[in-house]
Structure formats: structure tokens, C-alpha cells
């Protein structure tokens, strides 16, 4: 029997504002516990929230970038629940009038079609604190640093039919959020989190199956595995004549399984009601127009332009525009070299290899973006050869060295003095009498060997063509 997987996504992203959504505390990740905390974000009696306007701006930008309608009169609501990571015992969120509605993001399906994944709504809310369960001390500690960090929750319609669609959507959403500066989307730091609602049904059926909600996936790989596991679990259950229970499940990436957290019956009644401490937010046409006009080029637009204007292949543009950090590197490199093709090739070839080998995400590249362009220029002008260029790039990638300085210090510059090259090659000929004789006897491999020996003696600093020419001359 053929089964169809139906999924919807709830994505939470932490916004990259400097301060929290309702107070002036820093949002910086990784501070000492409870150092980015004040009376407001710790929910002390009598304190009141004050909205950070930057959050509204990022929300509107995100909405416009994902084809949403902006709700011009929107309000906050209270979501009440009792948990130690939530010091007010309610989260300020948006239920009745979320700031963005009815948008979409396009993905490519397996058969090459474009498909719109509809966005139901995007709303603003505050993050909760973090509980640290200390197994040794037999206690749980609370860190309120994250409390009040602004979040956008981006809720899709149940439009996904495969894990590939989910991953594409997430990659595109991440790229958009990074492009518009709304979030750095670092999954390891929790600034991009996705919950997946998943159900299965027989192909051709109209009615949705019973769904489960999966939480706690902190990488794209985990998401893919979780989808595979959960859809398989539901299909097996149904094929054995069982039923799927509506519940929230927790993904355990180490074990590769999901386990039930709580069932629908235990679902909390959040007792939402309009937040009385914050006045409604009114967004004018001018405000929206202004954001529209200052919107940076978005991934899909960039991709088109790279293909048509720069003549790059689609595969390359997909990868380049997939991360704003690669885009920034690429565009800087083009600025430095004036050569889009070489810039793209170096990134696609050499840099991607370093990224993959070291399992580094583009957002964690920590070198001067000028360096790649400088290396390309040095190679193209013959100052260093390509092999040296790669070595220098690796050094740039790992230690952020300055290319020219590094080349000079390590004496890696190409030899341009023909006389000097000639004398080194003469020495090689003198030391390899046997190969010289073999060559003269008609063995062509011997010539390759002599080139190799010459390059080694020249420590790779002479242009290969020059070496070949001189060697040929000397051997007559």
C-alpha cells in the first residue's frame, strides 16, 4: 500500500536584536547564568513590559520576505502556563491578531515543479529561560538569560509531503532570515528551532490522519532522521491495525528514536486573553512601504541574477545563495577580483572542501572575506601558482592569515627570474643522468619524472609552463 506523509512546521527563530523584547537586557548567547536579567524579564511584581520596536521591524521584514499580509492592527496576548523557566507564569505572545498572515515560500519538488508551502501566520513572542538539570547535585537550576529574547514563530500550513520539501523550506527560510538580518539562525545555539506536525494517510485520501508533534531536533540531519523514523513508526502502526495517538513526541538524536512526551488529553489549557500591559501595535502603510523599499535582495532574486548576469550554473547559485555568509564572501571576492567565474569556482571547489572536511557551517567562517579575492588575484597574475594558492587558502581558513604577508614570510612567491630557474633545472639534469638517458632513448615518462624533480627542487614556486619550456630546451 502506498502511504503519503503530511507535515506542517512550526519554526521558532530568535531575532538578532541587541536587547530583549520587553526590557533592555542583552540578548547575547552564552553569558554567565543570570547575568542578562533585570526586574522586568525576571517577572518581579509590579514590573511592566515595554516593546522593543526593532522586533516589530524584523517581523514585518520577515512577513514581506515570505509574501505575507501584514496585520496593521495587531495585539499581544497572554499564554498562561506554570513552569519554572517562565518567571511571570505567562508568555507574552500573539494569538488573535498575529503580525503576519497568509504567506508562502516556494520549494522545488522531486519532479522539478515549483510548489508553494503556505505560511499560516508569523507571530512575535518572548523566549523562556533555560532549565539546567544537575544530575550530580540532584537539583534543577534556572538560567533566565534567555528569558525575554525575542522570537518569531512561523507556522506553516500542512503542505509538506516529503522530508526533502521540509529541508528545502527550512534552508530557504533560514537564508531569508539571515539575508534580512532578522536572525543568525544558529541551530546549535537554538536560534532556529523547528517542531514538526506529522501524520500519514493512504495515497489519494482526502482526510488527514491523526498527527503527532515532534520537538527537540537541533540539526537538519536530525530533522530528516526524525521525519523518517516517525513516518515509518506511524505507517507500521497503521498497517498492523493500530491507531496513532495525538501526542507530542521528543526526538532523541543519539538513540535515533522519538518518545511520547504528553498526549492530547494532558494538553495545557493556555487560557489566552489579550495582554493588558501592552497597547495595540498599529502599523502604517508608510512604515510597510519604507521597509519594502529598504529590503535587501532576497535569495531567489539573487539566484536569478547570478545566473543571468554573471552566467553562473544553477547548481552553483543554489549553493552560493543558500547562505548569506557564502553570499557575502562571494560578493566581496567578486569586488576584489572583478571575476565572478573564478570567485564562484574557488568557493565551490576549494572552500566547500574545507567547510565539509572540517564540518564548519558558513556562518562560522571566521576569516577576512578579502583574503580569498587576494589569493585569486595572486594566482591569476602568476605571483603564485594554483597549488600554492590552495595552501594559502587553507591557512586563511584555519588561522585567518593575511595572504600576501603569509606568502612573503614563508617565501612562497613564484620565481620569475628565468636564469635562476634554469640553473636549478641544470642541477636536476646533472643529478638524474639515468632519466635523462632514458628520455633521450625515447621514454616519455622520464620527461614527466624530470619535471616533477624540477618542481620539487624549485619548491613549486616556478610556473609549470616555464619549467617545461626550459627543461625541453636544455635536453635539446
Amino acid at each position: 500500500m502506498e502511504w503519503e506523509i503530511v507535515m506542517g512546521l512550526e519554526v521558532h527563530t530568535e531575532l538578532s536584536t541587541k536587547t530583549k523584547i520587553f526590557c533592555n537586557c542583552s540578548t547575547q548567547f552564552g553569558g554567565e547564568p543570570n547575568t542578562h536579567v533585570c526586574e522586568i524579564c525576571s517577572g518581579m511584581p509590579g514590573t511592566l513590559p515595554l516593546l522593543n520596536k526593532k522586533v516589530v521591524e524584523y517581523a514585518v521584514r520577515t512577513g514581506l520576505a515570505t509574501n505575507c499580509t501584514i496585520t496593521q492592527y495587531n495585539k499581544f496576548d497572554r499564554k498562561n502556563y506554570f513552569y519554572p523557566d517562565l518567571p511571570k507564569a505567562y508568555q507574552i505572545s500573539q494569538l488573535y491578531l498575529p503580525i503576519c498572515r497568509n504567506g508562502y515560500i516556494e520549494v522545488d519538488t522531486d519532479d522539478g515543479e515549483k510548489k508553494k508551502i503556505r505560511i499560516h501566520e508569523i507571530h512575535m513572542e518572548e523566549d523562556a529561560g533555560k532549565l539546567i538539570h544537575d544530575e550530580w547535585e540532584d537539583c534543577t537550576l534556572v538560567d533566565y538569560n534567555r528569558c525575554g529574547v525575542p522570537l518569531l514563530e512561523i507556522v506553516s500550513e500542512p503542505d509538506f509531503r516529503s522530508a526533502e520539501e521540509v529541508l528545502q523550506y527550512l534552508e530557504r527560510l533560514r537564508a531569508i532570515l539571515q539575508y534580512i538580518g532578522a536572525s543568525d539562525c544558529k541551530m546549535q545555539e537554538g536560534s532556529l528551532r523547528a517542531d514538526i506536525n506529522l501524520s500519514v494517510r493512504k495515497k489519494g485520501e482526502e482526510k488527514f490522519g491523526v498527527r503527532t508533534e515532534m520537538k527537540n531536533m537541533n540539526s537538519f540531519k536530525a530533522i530528516q532522521r526524525a521525519i523518517e523514523y516517525e513516518s515509518q513508526r506511524q505507517i507500521e502502526l497503521l498497517e498492523e491495525g493500530g491507531v496513532v495517538t495525538q501526542e507530542t513526541r521528543r526526538w532523541d538524536d543519539n538513540k535515533g528514536i522519538s518518545t511520547a512526551m504528553r498526549s492530547k488529553e494532558d494538553a495545557q489549557d493556555y487560557k489566552y486573553f489579550p495582554e493588558p500591559d501592552l497597547p495595540p501595535i498599529e502599523i502604517s502603510d508608510e512604515y510597510i512601504e519604507n521597509i519594502k523599499n529598504n529590503m535587501p535582495e532576497l535569495p531567489q532574486e539573487k539566484k536569478q541574477r547570478y545566473m543571468t548576469e554573471l552566467g553562473l550554473p544553477e547548481y552553483d547559485t543554489n549553493i552560493l545563495t543558500g547562505s548569506v555568509y557564502l553570499v557575502r564572501l562571494f560578493e566581496r571576492t567578486v569586488e576584489v577580483t572583478g571575476n565572478p567565474k573564478d570567485s564562484a569556482n574557488w568557493i565551490m571547489g576549494e572552500l566547500m572542501k574545507f567547510l565539509n572536511d572540517s564540518q564548519t557551517l558558513p556562518e562560522n567562517m571566521s576569516f577576512e572575506f578579502d583574503s580569498l579575492g587576494k589569493i585569486i588575484n595572486l594566482v591569476n597574475s602568476g605571483k603564485i601558482n594554483r597549488g600554492t594558492g590552495k595552501k594559502v587558502l587553507e591557512k586563511v581558513f584555519t588561522d585567518n592569515v593575511e595572504p600576501e604577508k603569509y606568502i612573503e614570510e614563508n617565501n612562497l612567491g613564484a620565481m620569475t627570474d628565468t636564469g635562476a630557474i634554469k640553473s636549478v633545472i641544470e642541477q636536476v639534469i646533472a643529478e638524474n643522468e639515468k632519466s635523462v638517458n632514458e628520455y633521450k632513448g625515447g621514454k616519455t615518462q622520464a620527461f614527466q619524472y624530470l619535471i616533477g624533480q624540477s618542481m620539487r627542487a624549485l619548491r613549486g614556486k616556478a610556473p609549470a609552463q616555464e619549467v617545461q619550456k626550459i627543461l625541453k630546451e636544455l635536453l635539446g
Binding site: 526586574e39 511584581p45 514590573t47 516593546l51 497572554r78 498562561n80 506554570f82 511571570k88 486573553f273 493588558p276
Partner: protein
């Protein structure tokens, strides 16, 4: 003149011209408090050390012209739900019995910037839930006019202290009548400002959309001067507004000639005590004599006021009060030995009956399946109530009515019957729902010599208008000059 016989404004003037020092004013009040407060229990906490610590700086500031407010140097009592940095703020609840805020409410910053000196924290109904001050975990405050009667509530400590002369002036808060009703029961003046006129930052929330801090004073003038200090936009409170313009001169003109005053017939119907009704009608006659045009009109929406108020207030309250968990601050049960029990037992032991009742009521009306039937309907009623006020204000400059159906009740009389207590709020809660300002001033005494109060309700941000009318009435009468005899 004797310090304790002065109004707050008179005391401010005497300090300014050097007849009285700040220290002398503090001495006089602390001495009287020590003598009488064991009997009346207006104060939860006295801050003698802090007050005297500030006295010299304030005196110097006044002498050097740094503090120019008419109330500079005047001692003030603060309702115990307004946060004072380094001074216990308990809301008269066991659950906050040891809570010392690390910050000041904006109103405290403002009155200190004006050179006023906080002398103590005043008793109230627990979390401002109640109309008698009997729900206080520290015990009831006694009415200075009759020690066996309640002072009203929830700002009962504030009103009783000003009435008894244990504070020259005080701050209260009003969510459904909590300034006006105790002022009425104690024979003094009080203002519930327009919602948004005074910052709520640092006011421990009961019902956020209705709460408002306001002055409680011996005279209209005291309230005017106090309001001018505390009102105005505060960056820390998103619901506070830029006050259009408040002129103390306009507010103290005392001239109602040609003003149109409406009296809702529904405010004088079933349930009102004869003495109260007569006093209000007599006040209406006084306004006519002063040149105002007084007309009766229908306001049938009154019947929805109590249910709408208790639904909205309890819904917000249950959410506002869910942060008290016995962990972060406040009372923690020592009987619990795990987290869940700590929550349950701390809250069970820490909250009083009335607070628990309202928390449960609030949770009920917000529950899924009931939200539409209760909360949503209450919001509709709120809209209708606002509309009927706007309609009335098309015809009238002000609305006049009683504050409460009766004068102060005997201690214990309403505690056993919460519904009776709720119904006592019938004339006041609507004003909070509509968000408009209302001033309570004394307008007579009943047959047992208990004070009767009336309220003058105004358009949003027209505090000066209603204070001007109250001042005109005060000028024409002597109810505000009568003082209770303390025991």
C-alpha cells in the same frame, strides 16, 4: 498652626517658608502614629529610618530651591502594593510578607523628585481584592469615625490614615473603587485618574487594564497638587499616555457656573441607603445654587457593571498572581519537600480566601469552552459601558453620583457574604471599565455620624474639570473640615 492640623498643602507651604522643618513634620507624624496606630492599624510597615535619612537632604533641597513643589518636604504614606526600593511591599498578603523590591515604582521616583518623604506602607485588602480592608493578612484597619466599622477598601489603610491624621496625604490604587469608596467611608477626598494618566510601573498588578494609582488627600487641593506630581507619560509603562495639559490653577478655580452635570437615575435606584441618596440629591441642589445645570438621565447599562467587572478583573488577576510560587521571592511553605508541593502549599498557605476565590473565578472564565460565554461577553459589556459614557458626555460635562450604596459597614458584616461586598461596588466599577476619571469628596453624614461621599465623573484626561467642580462644592460646604475623634 499646629502641624497635625494642616492640610498637606498647608504643611508644604509652612515648610517652604521655614515655619516648620521637615524633621518637625516627621516627628509630629511618627509621634501620632505611635500613639494611635496600634488601635487603628493603618500601617503595615513604618520607614522611620529611611524617612529621617532623607530629611536633611530634602530640607537642604527646599532651602536651596531645588524642590519647588507645593508638597516638597511633606510626609506621605504609600499603599502597600506600590513598590518601594529597599522597603517591604507586601500587598497585605502572606505570600509577599518578606518581599523587598529592588526598584521604586515610577510614582515613588516622582514624589521623591518632588521632595516628598515616604513614611510608611499602608494596609489594604490583600492584593487590593476587597472593599473593606478585612481581607488583609495583617488584620483589618479600623474606621477613624467608628472603631467598630471598616474603613472601606481596598485602600482602607491609606484613607483611614489621612482621615485620622496619621498621614497628611497618601497614595492609593483604584481598580474598581478602591480609592473612592474608602475615601467616602472616611470622609476625605480621593481621585481615580483616567486610565493611562499615572504610570502603573511598580504597582503590583491586580487587574492591569483597570488599575490606576491616585492621590488620597484631606482636601481637593491636596489631591490636585499630588496628581500634578505623579501624572504624565512614563517610558516604563506602555499604557501610560502623554497627559495633554494639567493646570492646577484650572483645577482649583472652584467655578461651576454654566456647567452641565448629569445624574444617572440608575445610581439612585434599588439598594441605596436613604441617607446616601438624600446627601447626593442635596449636593445636586448645591451645584444648582452654584450655577450648574443638573439633569437626571437614564443609564441602564449599570446592571452589567458588576458581572463585567468581576469577570475581567478576576481573569487578569489569576494570570497576574500566578507568578507567586514560593521559589523566587516571598513566602515559601516549610512543609513541602518537593517542587510541586512547594508550589501548591506555598500558594495554599500564602493566599487568603478572597484572593483564592478570585483566582479560581478568573481561571474558570478563561478556560477553553467558557471563554466566549464569559470573558468575551464581558469585553462586549465593556464596550457598551464605554459607549454609554461617551453618549452621556455628549450631553454633560460631568456625571454626579454616590460612591457606594451605604456608609461604612460593621467589621465582619460583609466578609461572610462576598456577593454583598461585590454589590457594594456597583457605582464605582463602571468608571474603571470606562477608563474615565472620578473624584470622590465628602457630601454629608448619615444618622450615625458616618461620612457619606459622592463622586464626580469626568471625560478622559479632564481631571481638572472634575477637581474644579469638587473644589466649588468644597468651598460651599464644610464636610471636609470635620475630623473624627480618635480613641
Amino acid at each position: 498652626m499646629e502641624i497635625l492640623k494642616m492640610t498637606a498643602t498647608e504643611l508644604g507651604a509652612s515648610i517652604k517658608n521655614g515655619d516648620v522643618t521637615v524633621r518637625e513634620a516627621l516627628d509630629a507624624y511618627f509621634e501620632k502614629i505611635e500613639k494611635y496606630d496600634t488601635t487603628y492599624h493603618c500601617y503595615n510597615t513604618l520607614c522611620k529610618d529611611e524617612a529621617y535619612d532623607r530629611a536633611d537632604e530634602v530640607q537642604k533641597g527646599i532651602d536651596e530651591g531645588k524642590y519647588t513643589s507645593p508638597l516638597a518636604g511633606v510626609p506621605i504614606g504609600i499603599k502597600d502594593n506600590i513598590c518601594t526600593k529597599g522597603i517591604k511591599t507586601t500587598c497585605s498578603s502572606k505570600i509577599l510578607c518578606n518581599f523587598v523590591p529592588p526598584y521604586n515604582a515610577t510614582v515613588i521616583e516622582r514624589l521623591e523628585d518632588a521632595g516628598m518623604v515616604v513614611i510608611g506602607k499602608l494596609n489594604m485588602d490583600e492584593f487590593a481584592m476587597g472593599s473593606t480592608t478585612e481581607t488583609s493578612a495583617t488584620g483589618v484597619t479600623h474606621n477613624p469615625w467608628d472603631i467598630n466599622k471598616v474603613p472601606g477598601g481596598s485602600s482602607g489603610g491609606s484613607a483611614a490614615a489621612v482621615s485620622a491624621g496619621l498621614a497628611p496625604i497618601a497614595l492609593g490604587s483604584d481598580t474598581g473603587g478602591s480609592i473612592r469608596q474608602p475615601c467616602s467611608f472616611c470622609g476625605i477626598a480621593g481621585l481615580k485618574p483616567t486610565y493611562g494618566a499615572v504610570s502603573r510601573y511598580g504597582l503590583v498588578a491586580y487587574a492591569s487594564s483597570l488599575d490606576q494609582i491616585g492621590p488620597i488627600g484631606q482636601t481637593v487641593e491636596d489631591c490636585v497638587n499630588m496628581f500634578s506630581i505623579i501624572s504624565g507619560k512614563d517610558e516604563k509603562d506602555g499604557t501610560s499616555m502623554v497627559y495633554p495639559r494639567f493646570s492646577t490653577e484650572d483645577a482649583l478655580k472652584g467655578d461651576v457656573k454654566g456647567k452641565k452635570i448629569g445624574i444617572p437615575k440608575d445610581y439612585l435606584g434599588e439598594g441605596i441607603a436613604e441617607d446616601v441618596k438624600n446627601a447626593v440629591l442635596e449636593a445636586a441642589e448645591e451645584f444648582k445654587r452654584l450655577g450648574a445645570e443638573v439633569t437626571m438621565f437614564d443609564m441602564p447599562i449599570v446592571k452589567y457593571a458588576i458581572p463585567a467587572y468581576y469577570i475581567i478583573a478576576c481573569a487578569e488577576a489569576c494570570s497576574n498572581l500566578s507568578r507567586y510560587d514560593g521559589i523566587k521571592y516571598g513566602y515559601k511553605s516549610d512543609k513541602a519537600n518537593n517542587l510541586r508541593d512547594t508550589y501548591i502549599m506555598s500558594r495554599s498557605e500564602g493566599f487568603g480566601m478572597e484572593v483564592k476565590r478570585r483566582i479560581m473565578l478568573g481561571n474558570f472564565v478563561l478556560s477553553s469552552g467558557y471563554y466566549d460565554a464569559y470573558y468575551q461577553k464581558a469585553l462586549k459589556a465593556k464596550k457598551l459601558i464605554q459607549e454609554s459614557f461617551f453618549e452621556a458626555f455628549d450631553k454633560f460635562d460631568m456625571i454626579l453620583g454616590p460612591v457606594a450604596p451605604t456608609t461604612a459597614l460593621k467589621i465582619g458584616e460583609s466578609l461572610s457574604d462576598p456577593l454583598k461586598m461585590y454589590l457594594g461596588d456597583i457605582y464605582t466599577v463602571m468608571i474603571n471599565i470606562a477608563g474615565v476619571p472620578s473624584m470622590s469628596v465628602p457630601c454629608g453624614f448619615d444618622k450615625d455620624n458616618m461620612p457619606i461621599g459622592m463622586q464626580i465623573i469626568g471625560k478622559p484626561f479632564c481631571e481638572a474639570e472634575i477637581m474644579n467642580a469638587a473644589k466649588a462644592f468644597e468651598n460651599a460646604t464644610d464636610y471636609h473640615t470635620k475630623k473624627p475623634e480618635l480613641k
